[in-house]
Amino acid sequence: MPVSKSFVFINRKAPYGTIYALEALEVVLIAGAFELQVKLIFMDDGVYQLTRNQNPTGIGMKNFSKTFGALGDYDVEQIFVDHESLNLRGLDATDLQPLIHGTTDGVERPSIKIVPRSELGDIIEGADVLLNF
């Protein structure tokens, strides 16, 4: 395969109401295994994918949000969340599950960065490949 490309996954759908969030995460994990440079964007209703304390037992589904915690192990360390999307939805940083990754100096660092929308525009413009779910 040619020189490594940067992949940006854009997640805009709420979890559970549709399967897109779950099946997108399966693609992210595969991309992580390819050792690509991977960034994730959560915006619009996609921010609900990261909420704490999800419990879909009552709707008969499994809690796939725990899988986000494994992203650090796949070297998926750059997770961008749209500030405006959180704000419109009455959410803030404390509503999101903490996601971390290890660094070469042995310290664990947070993977989630809350950014203004204009910065998401820059990330999209800078990507080699855009995947939408």
């Binding site: 559970y16 909420t51 999800q54 879909p56 939805r89 009455g90």
Partner: protein, 103 residues
């Protein structure tokens, strides 16, 4: 002849809740299910419209199982919204004379 209106999509993604609230009558009930339960949170872009509907005599509910699935069950919901489970959904469908699903 009160109607139960169900809405299943996020009000931040689609217009179905807004349309529903724009024409439902005093005495009607609106039940948020599936992704629409995100509309039950306080201080969102849709919360004022919900409170106006409640003030006009519309009863608004959210399905507990869907709230819990999305981690939204922790005291952050609009006070005037009633919480029901699937059994309560069935009761609402039986108590009202028709059910309008805003798909």
């Amino acid at each position: 002849m009160p109607t139960l209106h169900t809405v299943n999509k996020s009000p931040f993604e689609r217009n179905s809740l807004e349309t529903c609230l724009s024409l439902c009558k005093p005495g009607a009930s609106v039940l948020l299910i599936e992704d629409a339960v995100v509309g039950a949170l306080q201080d969102t872009a849709i919360s004022r419209q919900i409170l106006e509907s409640v003030a006009s005599g519309v009863k608004v509910y959210a399905l507990n199982e869907d709230l819990q699935a999305r981690g939204l069950s922790c005291g952050r919901l609009i006070d005037q919204i009633g919480i029901v489970d699937y059994a309560g959904f069935v009761d609402l469908a039986a108590e009202n004379t028709t059910v309008q699903s805003w798909l």
